[in-house]
Symmetry: C2
Subunit: 286 residues, 2 copies
């Protein structure tokens, strides 16, 4: 049984904002995460949970400090969990570019050195961390969401493992990671650069995972700021996700928000709609 | 006319979260502040404003990122303004202790060197900054609030200058600054240590300002976390504020919140009640 170490606990609305660390057998490193537990969950009652995957450069702090999910989760009795974006620390490989290495796992399992030693975030999130939270906290169901690189992760995990997640949403997701300049740089490090490998990259793209999996959810929700420079410059490509969803008849609500950028000011503006989306799925799930 | 430089602008809910910098003639330094403008204010309509004074070590970032005032201010059409806690920069005097120097002005005007050159935060907030925001933004009235050292500031300014502020509240305020270990260290630097000076320190204490001013507001609101270590260790002393208010018949709502600490997790839990307090005062103010 994995040992959890409670590193902080702050009362927030009618619940507790906690941080934990634990040793991961998958990433061969210490990993940290934050979890908001409404009082019902603290008392041991099973509650629906949202797993939030963060974007490039982030730790669990960004969403925990800046997304303002606690008030709504307190009201609805939902658990909100934010794992880290990669293994981290002096003993873990890194890169000077913010879109490669620590904080930039893309939630894949690297096969090339020096990354393969620790960068196994796909297996970590889908298996070890998923099992850990379900065994350690009173969770009745799990919805998955995320921002930017974490939106890529949320769609990828949601459609690869529909038996594990009851609902999917994303905020400003990277929809075609392998074709973005960020993803090309990261995947060439994690998987190698030869042409066979490059074809393999696309299997992790949100759009390809959706096309391969077909319809899995009654409705998925995606929000995109229309003034987001990364969207304007083609890093995110929500229109490709829309096409993939249309192709397999996966219902999608894709909303563009005039004036909003890629920051947590946008995330906090739409986060309550995402919490409602996952809460309603949990109600239907029973 | 003081020139404002817009340093960032992010859309957030139905409004804009902006940061500005400007050269201050009072502190002889560049000063920065954040301001949330609901769309009504962006369009030029006069709106009520809340001036929020931050605590030790803070910049305008802490409250702007972590207090989550934007949603409520967007709904009510309120402006929210957060100045810095002191002059800052390599050319400004500083101290290794977090409760003295940069980030720890106590909102007083220092008379001793090296502080007197820049540490004129009392005059800055009460005069220069107050006039600046009223001349540059469509503000119909100003309420004042703050956290910890900033709660001290909010009560002090509110009761020294009741013609400038229509309402006062505070979160975990330092109520007797001159008798706290923090304040003793800071005031002995800013005002000098001889016994005449030490008597002068008390004139800035929230409790003494309230006693001297007498009743000024229909009701002031103070929230205190009951598990706040600084409260437990006697740095804050809300009971002294309660006694001062009773003495001069200043109505006070003082609420203790079981389990809550001194962090922004507490602030975000109560901030909407403070926004309501100031909004209702603005409605009454007409």
């Amino acid at each position: 049984m994995t040992q959890l170490t409670l590193t902080s606990n702050n009362r927030c609305f009618n619940g507790e904002q906690r941080y934990y660390s634990h040793q991961s057998a998958v990433t061969n490193s210490e990993m940290s995460f934050s979890i908001y537990l409404p009082d019902e969950a603290v008392a041991g009652k099973s509650c629906p949970a949202i797993l939030y995957l963060s974007g490039l450069t982030c730790s669990p702090d960004n969403v925990t400090h800046k997304a303002h999910f606690q008030q709504k989760c307190s009201e609805l009795g939902m658990i909100f969990i934010a794992p880290d974006t990669s293994p981290k620390g002096e003993d873990v490989a890194n890169d000077d570019r913010y879109f490669v290495g620590q904080g930039a796992s893309y939630y894949v399992d690297a096969t090339e050195q020096p990354w393969a030693e620790n960068f196994k975030m796909h297996s970590y999130i889908a298996d070890e961390f998923y099992d850990l939270i379900r065994s350690q906290f009173p969770i009745s169901s799990v919805g998955i969401t995320g921002h930017s690189m974490g939106g890529h992760g949320a769609i990828m995990f949601g459609f690869k493992y529909p038996s594990k997640f009851i609902s999917v949403s994303a905020i400003a997701p990277v929809c075609v990671a392998s074709e973005s300049d960020w993803g090309k740089a990261a995947f060439s490090e994690y998987f190698g650069q030869d042409s066979n490998q490059q074809q393999a990259w696309a299997q992790f793209d949100a759009v390809n995972v959706v096309e391969k999996a077909g319809k899995q959810y009654p409705l998925i929700l995606v929000d995109q700021g229309a003034a987001d420079d990364f969207y304007i410059d083609g890093y995110l490509r929500p229109e490709a996700l829309q096409q993939a969803c249309q192709k397999v008849e996966q219902p999608l609500t894709l909303r563009y928000h005039a004036g909003f950028d890629h920051s947590y000011y946008f995330i906090q503006t739409v986060i309550e709609d995402h919490i409602d989306h996952h809460y309603n799925a949990a109600l239907s799930h029973g």
